[in-house]
Symmetry: C2
Subunit: 421 residues, 2 copies
């Protein structure tokens, strides 16, 4: 028998209890032992009295109980969760967590503490999709060339709506909030921060690289306009918030930002609240993983699957490496050194010479234009120029845009979206 | 150090050697030990003299060598491979195989023999896609409601071409053979047999069910015509060869056949030679796995990943269950009891009363028509009627078609394709 204590009984925690109870028979057949949700800790016990489990509002009732073999941490946040998980591991218990922020900041310390104890965190990235196991075990023969993930369901829902229905960011945000897909303060999701936490976890497994959210390029989807959507559709692109980890000349690029991707790519077909991760390995080629990235039941599916793996005696190293080697000296690519194709949007006064002056600046910085679209406007004085460029260094496009911004016919800072091939 | 002996040095075997050598550093970091391809056995040694590995044409040089820890079986076929694998396990060696036929017939015997020894077969289903691990570990919390797999790249390539370019089965088969995507005798692929072997492996992990290829419904894609493609496109379907395992009122449906599926479904978007598997779990909902289902490098990626898992001490039970429970008394649904929607194609003499007589037979069997299309024909005497039906029992549609076949204006046996929702 494996006795489980669950700290945090929100949607995921209560679903963990439900799965362990409803699927008890098949789970114990798969695990080889009976897995019992023995006790749940929550702040407001009254709210959870319908759960068929002993309740407590004191984490020590789990941490100090020697009969509890495995602790499920579902309170979220960084520091308090870290203390709880650390203590559980020090007491010799196994741990399963869905806490991406905890791992974004403390995964390497936890890896040391967890050595030989059983530590599961499949639920921290992409909810019910077993992407941690795929990367750590299923693709372990490969050098990972790139990971491109749609890891935030809120953003993907919003972008899908904007593309399919032509609604604005503000309209779709309001709708997403009403449907419960977006928080009252949506910054963590729409700003790309949630996806960045998940990306760092995946990048550790792929590359053994240590980085914190502050170290990497993170841009959200707040600036996407209807013109961007129009351009994307016109030229056969979809717009997605992508979390990207990519090997590049002996270094690693880690970045989260909206990107234009060709509609034919499999990852471009991941729509609505769903998540998807495309992984390219040097021998396996591209594989893609798709499913529900959030929601109590899907996330709890990953938590319980981790519990089962631990019950079976899972021997996979937490972050994929039994010992680090020379490849772990990989450093991050500076964002100025990224090479990409770019889409640029500019709002300008509609006068003679605008296009020639703008394009001469691009030329000056060695940036060559791939396609160009001028959108007719109701406002006779103003027009919008939409460009895409061939591949160039990010520092070049940034400098060019800074110069363009100061041209007198340019009425607001030009906007740029990267195009991923 | 883990010493590996490889039996069979075709495209997969030589790629296994190549991966172990080229990615040696990252593999040993992930595995925690150095993994050495020590010896390769093949019939024609001359062909493989470029491989940097000791060669032999005698399997006993691997099986009888106590220093070999792990045997990779890549000779294919059932009985000889079974003897080799059995002997290797009896000698206390671990085994990794890509042999789907071996597993389709002997997986339960092998599970017993492999107990405690390490047995990997990820490469036997869908090449480089880690679907075995996803199902056995990543989704282990769930009762599996259904698996729908595009598991044969040859068929998927051919059907994609037929849909995109309107070419006939015979034309595309010729082309696939020229490109090396189809064998000179394509029956094993286009007849659905290859997919059935893979389906049985997945169904064991999902349901603990024992069945052989002979026990299940297998239909190939040989009968798909341009009219079927026309109908599919007209009504928003794609046509795929699907391998389906589905829980259905306490029993399990296992079947391989071409199916019409709505274009919006993620599995319908898996095109060309690629494979994809959609798995629905009771808590996780739908997840989907996509990648290269064949090819030396992709398949070898799975083989080597299995070797790494075994080196790490993988503790997952071979077929997903540590012990079987009451759920393992699941039996197969008889094919007559399947319920589905159907598409029907009939070639008839174009005369008055044809439609009314045909539809009265459908009505007699309680089958209601969902959509109907009559395709104009160059041949004035002949016309093609295309129907789709609402859900009904397979025995009904079969009986109805048998009656229709004997109507005098029906010029060849009507054809039927199932519609999967």
């Amino acid at each position: 028998m494996l006795k489980v204590g669950i700290i945090g009984l929100g949607t995921v925690g209560s679903s963990v209890v439900k799965i362990l109870q409803e699927n008890e028979e098949i789970i114990s057949a798969r695990a080889g032992v009976k897995i019992v949700p023995a006790i749940g800790v929550a702040r407001n016990l009254e709210k959870h009295k319908d759960l068929d489990i002993i309740l407590s509002d004191n984490v020590d009732d789990i941490l100090e109980d020697k009969s509890i073999d495995l602790v499920v941490e579902l309170i979220g946040g960084v520091e308090q969760a870290y203390e709880i998980v650390k203590k559980a591991l020090q007491k010799g218990k196994s741990v399963v967590t869905a806490n991406k922020a905890l791992l974004a900041y403390h995964r390497y310390e936890l890896q040391e503490l967890a050595e030989g104890k059983g530590f599961g965190f499949e639920a921290s990235v992409a909810g019910g999709i077993p992407i941690i196991k795929a990367l750590r075990e299923g693709l372990s023969a490969n050098k990972i060339l790139s990971i491109k993930g749609i890891l935030n369901g809120t953003c993907n829902y919003m972008l899908t709506k904007m593309i399919e229905e032509g609604v604005s960011f503000d309209e779709v945000l309001k709708e997403a909030q009403e449907l419960g897909y977006a928080e009252a303060d949506p910054t963590f999701d729409v700003g790309g921060f949630d996806a960045s936490h998940k990306l760092l976890i995946l990048a550790s497994i792929a590359y053994g690289i240590d980085a914190k959210p502050e170290d990497i390029l993170i841009e959200g989807i707040e600036g996407i306009t209807r013109e961007d959507i129009f351009f994307a559709k016109e030229f056969g692109y979809n717009i997605k918030l992508l979390a990207i980890a990519k090997k590049s000349r002996g270094k690693v690029e880690l970045r989260v930002h909206p990107a234009l991707i060709k509609k034919e790519q499999m990852i471009a077909k991941v729509d609505g609240v769903m998540n998807g991760i495309s992984v390219v390995g040097d021998f396996v080629g591209e594989t893609l993983y798709y499913g529900a990235g959030a929601g109590g039941d899907a996330t709890a599916s990953a938590v319980v699957s981790d519990i089962i793996s631990i019950a079976r005696g899972d021997a996979s190293p937490m972050l994929g490496f039994k010992k680090l080697g020379s490849f772990d000296h990989l450093t991050l690519v500076e964002s100025d050194d990224i090479k990409s194709e770019y889409y640029v949007r500019m709002s300008v006064v509609d006068e003679i010479g605008v296009l020639s002056k703008t394009s001469s600046i691009f030329a000056k910085f060695g940036i060559s234009i791939d396609s160009f679209l001028q959108k007719s406007s109701k406002n006779k004085q103003r027009t919008t120029l939409l460009f895409s460029t061939h591949k160039c260094k990010e520092s070049k496009i940034k400098s060019a845009l800074k110069h363009i911004e100061h041209l007198e016919f340019v009425k607001e800072p030009p906007a740029m979206i990267r195009i991923e091939d």
